[in-house]
Symmetry: C2
Subunit: 224 residues, 2 copies
DNA sequence: TAAATATTCCCTCTAACGAGTGAAGCCCTG
DNA sequence: CAGGGCTTCACTCGTTAGAGGGAATATTTA
């Protein structure tokens, strides 16, 4: 656990509107945490009160410190950001989480928003925009940068995959043949072909290789 | 250009051994730059004298400020880290560049070291290790973390691809069929098949889909 | 309950893929 | 200049993938 100062005590005397926004930072890169902490602390009316380096730690630390806002990376070792958001918001439905990701993959954006994130920012955005969003979200609003909203819109154009189609796609990304996918899912090869057929149509691709590339590039499935 | 303080002037009177290591930071994420700057400046004997947010800017700013060490990200919009290193070391063969990357992909590591990087660190490493490496590299030594060296070793196990095989592989990653690859490279389909055959052997895969996944996962070719 | 939707499977047929083998021309290096 | 690697291409052959049709069971939704 990396939480430095525990400002868990209620602010004595100070009116609520004048108290600092208490921010938790979640990122697996120490130097990124350092930068975000410097950024937040340099803003008037914001203080970093806790840090975590992965999803599991984030859940714990949120419980301990109950920050006003969590600034959270998505891709982290072990439990990722989406699971962490889901878990936190299960215990604290009012929890305000801003996702700060490297990637603007539509599936990532969708999953983050679905799981209850109040915003989705990109790490290459100017620090002013990050600070501004913390303020806006703290005031109870949700905001999405235009570029991110556009990506989300693109995703909505694409037909949703069914659960089974996802299974097949994930198996495909492991480099398996139709026969291997079939036996790994305990279905016939013909069924695999059937799923692939609709999969190709939905993704607007012609073959499995294109489907694999498409899936990776849009974050529909993850390598690693 | 984001260079804040231009300490281009020679240190007056102060003996060389006691002067600060002058560091340039190159990363496209503002908050990461902020973190690295905070990290470096907090170390005794190190100062951040310049920043850049992509390869092109890095080349310019290096020329202007001539830092002792450059801390450089690899994947940046436009001109990437590798090209920046090559360009900088063409003008300044003694330039000391430490790559600081998100990924431990063997091809990235190889390309960075090949182009003259003195070290290759990962962003999830503790800040102490980053600071320590800056010191070591400044003293004229090169150092690679064990985990990174191991990856590089893994790469050396894999047979090198020829230029043409790379071409075919890159075309493959675009989702093209053999016929399309053939016409895009102005060769016959049989030649494409021939290259693919050796490609599959070298990558230890059975088909094009596996090859695509393998190539993406090891950073042999890049999406986007 | 009727109407989607998801999942499963079948059949046919053609094109694409990949293994195996061989070989010619080119360039570079010992 | 001989040998080695790279690039090019040809031919055969078996396998796999993918298109184009249906169709039968759930399950969910309106």
């Amino acid at each position: 656990m990396i939480s430095e100062n525990d400002f868990n005590s209620p602010n004595l005397g100070m009116p609520d509107t004048h108290s600092s926004i208490r921010v938790m930072i979640v990122d697996d890169h120490p130097s990124m945490r350092m930068g975000l902490a410097a950024l937040i602390d340099s803003q008037p009316g914001m203080t970093v009160i806790a840090e975590a380096s992965d999803g599991e730690e984030a859940i714990e630390v949120y419980d301990d410190t109950q920050p006003d806002i969590a600034l959270m990376d998505l891709r982290m070792p072990g439990i990722g950001g989406v699971e962490a958001i889901l878990s936190i918001r299960k215990s604290y439905p009012e929890a305000k989480v801003i996702v700060l990701s490297t990637y603007d993959w539509d599936e990532d954006i969708h999953r983050a928003i679905q799981s209850g994130a109040a915003s989705y920012l990109l790490k290459d955005m100017p620090i002013e925009e990050i600070a501004e969003t913390v303020k806006i979200v703290h005031e109870g609003d949700a905001s999405l940068p235009r570029s991110v909203a556009k990506r989300l819109e693109e995703r909505s154009q694409r037909e949703q995959l069914t659960e089974r189609e996802r299974d097949v796609l994930e198996s495909l990304i492991k480099g398996r043949s139709n026969k291997e996918i079939a036996s790994s899912l305990f279905i016939s090869e013909e069924t695999v072909k059937s799923h692939l057929k609709t999969l190709f149509h939905k993704l607007h691709v012609r073959d499995r290789t294109e489907a694999a590339i498409m899936a990776i590039r849009h974050g529909i499935v993850h390598l690693d």
